[in-house]
Subunit: 200 residues, 2 copies
DNA sequence: TTTTGTTGATTGGCCGATCAATTAAAATTA
DNA sequence: TAATTTTAATTGATCGGCCAATCAACAAAA
């Protein structure tokens, strides 16, 4: 069986399996065996490539964040006007891939883990900073810097909040509603700075 | 040592110890030994009174929620006008007790656990519903029902979002700023329904 | 002497990690 | 090209440790 060049294939399979297992299980308390089974390999192989469970988890978060980042960059570049870029950021945050129950569960599990693992925390802080800075950068073209920071803070909180509320599946808000709520927030708070004639 | 009437004392001590342990540890993966040590009793006693770790955790969440609920009720009753009641709800949500790092960590851990435990989920859904219904009830006196629901959804999301962002301690927002952001949200979205002369 | 509170000791199970062993492809040498 | 050595991939078996849960035993109040 030993076919050369399997490392990247296995690594990806294991990371994907981890995301799925964590998502299904709704917790980082998944066993290496379970992950390995999902990936169709032995537990020993997971250790071989990642050294430890901790490292495999870190790699999984990193992968999740990279995917999200790529989507954001792409979305931002696809439009020109600042206000449209803001909408693009919002849209990506609630993109269907992100909204899958397992993905949401995984995010939540990682957030909780950030209390424990410094590395996990670092990565999530990075995500938060990027979201914030993307929002601020575009808001600054629409309103004074002070207000931009404040509004960005609020929008970021709203995005995260809508997200976490999905995890409870209590009053399941649709993707569209989530986007609409966040858009409304921006619109309402940008209104004071709009040219008098340009009311929507 | 055996003095009669210890049961309620021990139960409370164990629940408090659990909250502290979970908060410190930032995860529900705390051992019964650790909890028992915090409470100054043996692990066996914790099992004696709660039957299982799961039950002890449930009792801890219930306690957290009861405390929060009591605070909310009290705050709501202390003022009259709907708009003031809304402010009171917000203030309680960011009340200093709730904002303690350990409390935030505990909340987060429980949210994550809701993916796993149906009972945990039930309790958190209950919290979400209460928050929502409190907001909606008061908003309905200030704007049409449809808008009330929408604005409540947004405000609840914002509260949860600001909360979860605290857990990362990245750009630590102060309690006052969190309250201000949420207040701003309400104010901005209620503005269209206010009497023309009554602009703040 | 019954009830209540309490613990130490123990057990059974699970899981992360390690390691030696195996297989087959690739590289090297003859 | 055939023979060999090296390297990469992979796993089964196993170990050590931790932890939830159990239980028998004991102490003191009722």
């Amino acid at each position: 069986m030993p076919k050369v060049g399997m490392e990247p294939v296995r690594r990806k399979a294991l990371v994907d399996a981890t995301l799925k297992a964590v998502g299904d299980h709704g917790s980082l308390a998944v066993t290496m065996s379970e992950i390995a089974r999902h990936a169709g390999v032995s537990p020993a192989l997971a250790h071989h490539y990642f050294g430890s469970k901790e490292q495999l988890l870190i790699a999984t978060i990193r992968s999740l964040l990279q995917q999200l980042r790529a989507d954001v960059v792409k979305a931002i570049q696809s439009v020109q006007a600042p206000r449209e870029k803001l909408s693009a950021i919002i849209r990506v945050s609630f993109h269907s891939d992100q909204f899958r129950p397992e993905t949401i569960a995984a995010w939540l599990a990682f957030y909780a883990d950030a209390q424990r693992s410094e590395e996990t925390r670092r990565l999530l802080v990075l995500y938060a900073r990027r979201l914030r800075s993307n929002l601020v950068a575009n808001l600054k073209r629409l309103c004074p810097a002070d207000d931009a920071v404040r509004i960005a803070e609020g929008a970021a909180a709203m995005i995260d909040g809508l997200y976490i509320r999905q995890s409870l599946r209590s009053a399941p808000i649709s993707i569209d509603s989530s986007i609409a709520l966040t858009e409304d927030y921006l619109t309402a708070h940008l209104r004071p700075f709009m040219a008098p004639g340009a009311r929507a």
